[in-house]
């Protein structure tokens, strides 16, 4: 079980409201990702759920029980920290066993659990090493192992992959997703990387300045962003947001079109000059300057042979245009 409900939770540090009143419900077994730019309060929100920070007002309940004033240890949650926070003087085995030892578990039973966790995480050969002798990815796995053995109601991950190099990050991302498939435990994952959010989440919570901008599945957010912030944050490369006369034609303040929803045609509505072209092999990203509009990013096929200064004409695909009002919200 691992249903977590936040009701009008508020957190302020002195005068500063980091999180103005917020409601959120996380279902049992869900993989929820909190995503947002740095400083948006996503880590604070995670720490509030963990109990490492006290709420200023509002309540947090875990499995229907009020946990607002429970100390972290009694909430039954396990956390994986950004710095892994392994105990440097203990071996891998002792690190993983630490929570069990603190819970006063029988040594034989604890050893069996550690062995099992080590098998799941491919750490069996490293049990006697110290954290200092492990690579970044292995340390990450030890930190996860320490969380698994407690059999928590939910796992909390605080930007766990940000200290790893790009290749390892993709691997660990898959490993964590697979772990979620195996354990089927609720996981809450904080990241500023929208790619991680899109690839891992059942449900994404987009945060901005402590407020929830939108909650939904990755594709929901991609297909129908609630406002310009979510539209610009989810998807890579970013959605083109166009204001001015062109937007007024569609009776909106801002219109948005994703780079992959623009076609290069012989005779389209938008004429422009290619500024920069990035050839990635599989794709080509073009920065196009169109008169009277913001620079437009276009995602085109990989074998395209266009260069700086070439004139092209663009057409948005039918039905892929997003319209936003003066307040930034999507128009129906």
């Amino acid at each position: 079980m691992g249903k977590i409900t936040l009701t009008s939770v508020r957190k302020s540090f002195g005068e500063v409201d980091v999180i103005p009143s917020l409601d959120l419900s996380i279902e049992d077994g869900e993989f929820v990702v909190f995503v947002g730019p740095s400083g948006c309060g996503k880590s604070t929100l995670l720490r509030l759920i963990a109990g490492l920070e006290d709420t200023t007002s509002g309540s947090i309940s875990i499995d229907g029980q009020d946990a607002t004033d429970l100390p972290p240890a009694r909430r039954g949650l396990a956390m994986v920290f950004q710095s892994y926070a392994l105990y440097p003087h203990m071996s891998v085995k002792k690190n993983i066993m630490f929570p069990l030892k603190m819970a006063g578990m029988d040594v034989a039973e604890a050893e069996a659990k550690v062995a099992n966790a080590a098998k799941i995480l491919n750490l069996t050969n490293y049990l006697d090493r110290k954290p200092g002798q492990l690579s970044g990815g292995q340390r990450q796995r030890v930190a996860i192992g320490r969380a698994i053995v407690r059999e928590p109601k939910a796992f909390l991950f605080d930007e766990p992959l940000s200290n790893l190099d790009a290749a390892l990050r993709v691997n660990m991302r898959q490993e964590i997703s697979e772990l979620h498939q195996t354990l089927k435990t609720t996981m809450i994952y904080v990241t500023h990387d929208q790619v991680e959010a899109m690839t891992m989440a059942d449900k994404i919570v987009v945060l901005n300045a402590g407020r929830i901008e939108q909650v939904g599945s990755p594709l929901e957010l991609y297909r129908s962003p609630a406002n310009t912030f979510v539209a610009g944050f989810i998807g890579s490369p970013k959605m083109n947001l166009i204001t001015g006369a062109e937007a007024a034609k569609h009776s909106a303040t801002t219109i948005g079109i994703r780079p992959e929803h623009l076609d290069i045609v012989a005779d389209g509505p938008w004429q422009g000059v290619v500024g920069l072209s990035e050839h990635l092999g599989s794709d080509t990203f073009l920065k196009v300057a169109v008169a009277g509009m913001e620079p437009i990013t276009v995602r085109a096929g990989g074998e395209l042979n266009l260069h700086h200064g070439d004139r092209i004409s663009l057409a948005p695909q039918a039905g892929k245009l997003h319209r936003f009002g003066a307040d930034g919200k999507t128009l129906a």
């Binding site: 490492l52 240890a73 956390m79 920290f81 105990y87 003087h89 603190m102 819970a103 320490r146």
Partner: protein, 289 residues
């Protein structure tokens, strides 16, 4: 760059400093060794070869064993107080509080007071049986004043020296505490560790290296405590507060026996090396890795 040629040049460049430092050490040591084999008293003119007599008399002197025991008691006593007291003070000073900066400076202050001054202050203002603060307090509470330096001379000196060294260990342990990773503490908190077990399983292991440094450095200085003894008890009553450095001083400058004093000095050097050897073997391995 590091060719044989440049290495030779480098050796040549540093040699003046190395030679000077080497002479600085070896000349006094050599002279002390030389004197320790001479019958050399400032009251009788002339010197003559004495063989191992000086060592024999120094080591069979009843005062030597007292001094040895006193030296060890002093070192161990001060180490116990400063290590445990230092951990306690460091933990207190690590807590967020108002006026932290000023409090920290004040805690460090005793270390800047020179040993003769601090010992005299303790002797005359605190421990004096007539005018001392402790005597006043005792009298105010209806007890008879206690003459610390006469009745518990070694303990009094241990207290004085510990007072002077407590800031040192506090400072080193405080910096170590401040480098303790906060996320580790939080992780342990989530793992269900109580404050006490967090202290025992995280803080203490984290501090071992600093404690080792404190013990090593302090031992070196505590083996040669002298000023505090000279200005308070003069090693007395009898030999109750005489340690080895003070005994060497008494031998060579109070009895004018340069030969005997030199032998004592060499014995002290050998003892210090034995202590250093065992100390390094016992706790030096904490400094590896």
């Amino acid at each position: 760059m590091a060719t044989a040629h440049s290495r030779t040049a480098a050796r040549l460049m540093v040699s003046p400093a190395v030679i000077l430092l080497f002479l600085w050490m070896i000349v006094p040591l050599g002279m002390t060794v030389y004197f320790s084999f001479l019958r050399y008293n400032l009251l009788t003119p002339g010197t003559s070869f004495a063989g191992l007599d000086n060592y024999y008399y120094f080591l069979t002197n009843a005062a030597f064993w007292d001094a040895l025991v006193n030296t060890i008691t002093l070192v161990v006593g001060v180490l116990l107080i400063t290590v445990f007291g230092g951990i306690g003070l460091a933990l207190l000073l690590d807590q967020p509080m108002w006026g932290q900066g000023i409090v920290r400076v004040m805690v460090i202050a005793p270390f800047f007071v020179m040993p003769t001054v601090s010992a005299l202050v303790w002797k005359n203002m605190f421990m004096n049986p007539v005018n001392g603060m402790f005597a006043h307090i005792a009298k105010a509470l209806g007890f008879a004043p206690y003459d610390f330096l006469a009745h518990a001379p070694l303990l009094s000196i241990i207290v004085i020296v510990a007072w002077a060294w407590l800031p040192f260990s506090t400072l080193i342990l405080l910096t170590a505490l401040q480098s303790l990773d906060r996320e580790q503490q939080e992780a342990a908190e989530m793992d269900g560790a109580s404050t006490l077990s967090r202290f025992w399983y995280l803080t203490v292991p984290h501090l071992t290296r600093s404690i080792t440094v404190v013990i090593l450095i302090q031992t070196i200085f505590l083996l040669s405590v002298f000023a505090e003894i000279l200005v308070t008890t003069n090693g007395g009553p009898g030999t109750a507060s005489t340690n080895i450095p003070y005994l060497v001083y008494a031998q060579s400058l109070l009895s004018f026996d340069v030969g005997g004093g030199s032998a004592g000095g060499i014995v002290a050097v050998i003892l210090a090396n034995i202590v250093a050897f065992f100390l390094m073997r016992m706790i030096g391995k904490n400094l590896d890795a």
